[in-house]
Amino acid sequence: MKKLSLFTICLIILVGSWVFLRFVVGGIISVPIPGSVIAMYMGLIIIAILVHISVEDSLFREFRRPILETLVEDKRRPHRRVLVVLIPLLLLGYTYSIIAQRANPPGSPRDAHPSPPLELTYKNEVIGTMQDVVNPFRHYEKDDPEAFKAHVENGRRVYHQNCFYCHGDDLDGQGHFAPYLQPLPANFQDPGIIPNFQESFFFWRIAKGGPGLPAAGTPWDSAMPIWEDTLTKDEIWDVILFLSDYTGYQFRTFGEAH
């Protein structure tokens, strides 16, 4: 077998790396890499190749030999003819695709955890400071399991009369309205949701809904209702008990805060 020329080897390395990054990692292993990162890697590889061939004169001469041969020698005339058509065509296609590219709609960055106000209110009544308010029925969990169960059951009723359309039967944010809402409804089965918040935070989000998001909480298109218009204070606390009871996750409590 004929030994591959240095130029061919470099070309194979270059094309091979691109295919590997774009299709093997991005497609088969399915960890899509952003185009800019691929461009960066390719830049590094090109620099490495340039460094390698310019270390010694002999290497550089060997590298450029096939290029020069293709340019001038008679036996390479067929190659030359193909390349003189192919290279301009590729450039033509590439520049056209860049110029004719359609603009895409702007993305909407999201503040997933907006900061709550200092005071927790229900309608206009102040309940207390956000940090200190606790669920008034939470203590039944230890003191009176029967009463606790009754509150959880009431929370279950409230949930399934109001919330499951979006947040789902399994509290996984996949209710039957959910796929067509942006942003998607919260998924309470996500281990990053309930354990990261105090119950008072949930009360705030439930009571004030999407319209009650602070000015920094862009982009304003949450479909979460203002539940204080519909639910009583106790119903909101009960549904919060149900959320943690059904999922098995504990809300963050003051004192555990880091």
């Binding site: 020069l68 340019l71 001038v72 030359r80 390349l83 003189v84 290279i87 301009p88 065509l89 450039l91 033509l92 296609g93 520049t95 056209y96 110029i99 004719a100 359609r102 603009a103 895409n104 709609p105 702007p106 993305g107 909407s108 960055p109 279950r156 009723r157 949930y159 399934h160 009369q161 109001n162 499951f164 359309y165 979006c166 789902g168 039967d169 399994d170 996984d172 996949q174 209710g175 039957h176 309205f177 796929p179 067509y180 809402l181 942006q182 809904g209 999407g210 319209p211 000015a215 862009t218 982009p219 304003w220 298109d221 479909a223 979460m224 209702p225 203002i226 218009d229 519909t230 059904y246």
Partner: protein, 571 residues
Amino acid sequence: MRIRTVALLLTLFGILVVFNFVHAQNAPEASEKGKEVYENSCAHCHGTEGRGDGSAAENLLPKPRDFTRGLYKIRSTGTGELPTDQDLFDIITEGMPGSSMPGWETALSANDRWEVVAYIKTFYDGFKEAEAPPKQINLSGKVPYSEQSVETGKALYTELGCVECHGNIGRGDGTSAPDLTDEWGFQSWPANLTQGWNFRGGSDTEAIFKRFIGGLAGSAMPAFEGDTFPGFGLTAEESNRMLELDNKDEMTAAEEEESGQLYEKYDAAVDIALNLAEGTELSAEEKQIYDDAMKVVYEKSWHLANYVKSLMPEKRPEPAIGNNVLRSQYLQGALPAIDDAAWETFEARYFPLVGQVVIEPRQFNPTLDGVHVKSFYNDTEVAFLFIWDDRTHTTDETDEETGKTVEDALAVQFPVKIPQGPTAPKPYFLGGGRLPVYLWHWKASAPDQVTELTAKGINNAEVQEAQGELQAQGTYTNGQYKLWVKRALKTDDKKDLQLEPGVFVPIAFSAWDGANGDVDTKRVMTSWYTFVLEPVPSSKRFIYPPLIALLSVGFLFGLRAFVLRKNSEEA
């Protein structure tokens, strides 16, 4: 050693197959475990006693299934039969599209789902009392999909009376559609056959065929058999002839006799079917007549299933986000009118609707699926075509429950000022009042008129004093609304949205189905999407690429000349 390994693997494989086979057929004995899973995951809709009266049921339509009557819509079994365990398991696993029943595949383990199947069966004694397993529908005579089969099915669609409920071309807009109720007296809308993604038991041809033969127990959809099947007991030719004779104004004596004979044959077959349904033992001759009749029913049902399949797209369209964003196409000259063929040249964008559950009164059970939108613009104007399916044409009726006047309507919503940059807040429209929105409100009672409004929140809309030069035209045909709206790109009114090519504009919709009680905030809606007047591509695209190609050719030749000269110098 190797043989032993292979044998061991084969045995393991065999055990797995047998285990799966056995498991796929029958649920385990009802147990405490099943009760526990049921009460935690199902009872809130279906009720602790299985009567379909859980706390959520009140707000739901279709209602959650009442398990105590043994009536199941989605079965692989014949009419009057109970479902198989596998049928129940599949429904729990996959859910009921178009209703509030979700699939439980990820939320419950297969084992738990089987336990629930066993527990659900305890609500109806018929399962225990059944002597033989339910008779499954034979799918072996499947007629493959073809143009011809679709044509045959199309003729049957009219002949069998499907039109009465499902409408002329299947949009669920038949004349009796609004009056249908189920066994429990609840409203039961006929399926829109063009929206296969809302079919409760799936929309492949086999599934559709099973619904024909087995019926949708408890609903208004009949099973194809006996007196519910026109021409039962007749061959395809005979029933065609019967229809032909029926349609004649005058019959000759011979024709009258022929018609009489056909009716006799038909009545006899129907009687046999009715006897069979009552449990009467059939004679061999009767059984032959019945089997022959059912053979015809099966074949016709396959044709009809192929026709229904032809009415729907492969799957639900993708919502108009990302690559599917709504792009208004540039045209030189006049914009097309509502029925212009130019609208057919590209596909509409799809904006799925959901119930408005934020502000009272709320809509928990939407009957409108989505709005399809197309748009053209020229140098001065923009035209939109909004298309949506609605089973009923309601223009001015009084809702029985609320006493309010209801009618079908559509509202298109834009911001007054386009948010600059992705982080700029969009106007909020449900209850909030941060930034105003600009609305086009169209009502079915005045189909050629669109009103411009400015709103700050869902209950805070004002009709604009200056109504611009907005042209509109609305039509309703075969269960589908089309609304055409044209407006100038720029107006003098500061409360109007001003449009410019290349700028992404937020857009949202609200729609009202009067027959579903939609009025005021009780409606269906979309969240914010965007659309753009697609800029005319820059003419630079015809200049730079050829220029660069030419330059590269020049470069290549130059390089060759350079090398040649250098070589000759060296030589």
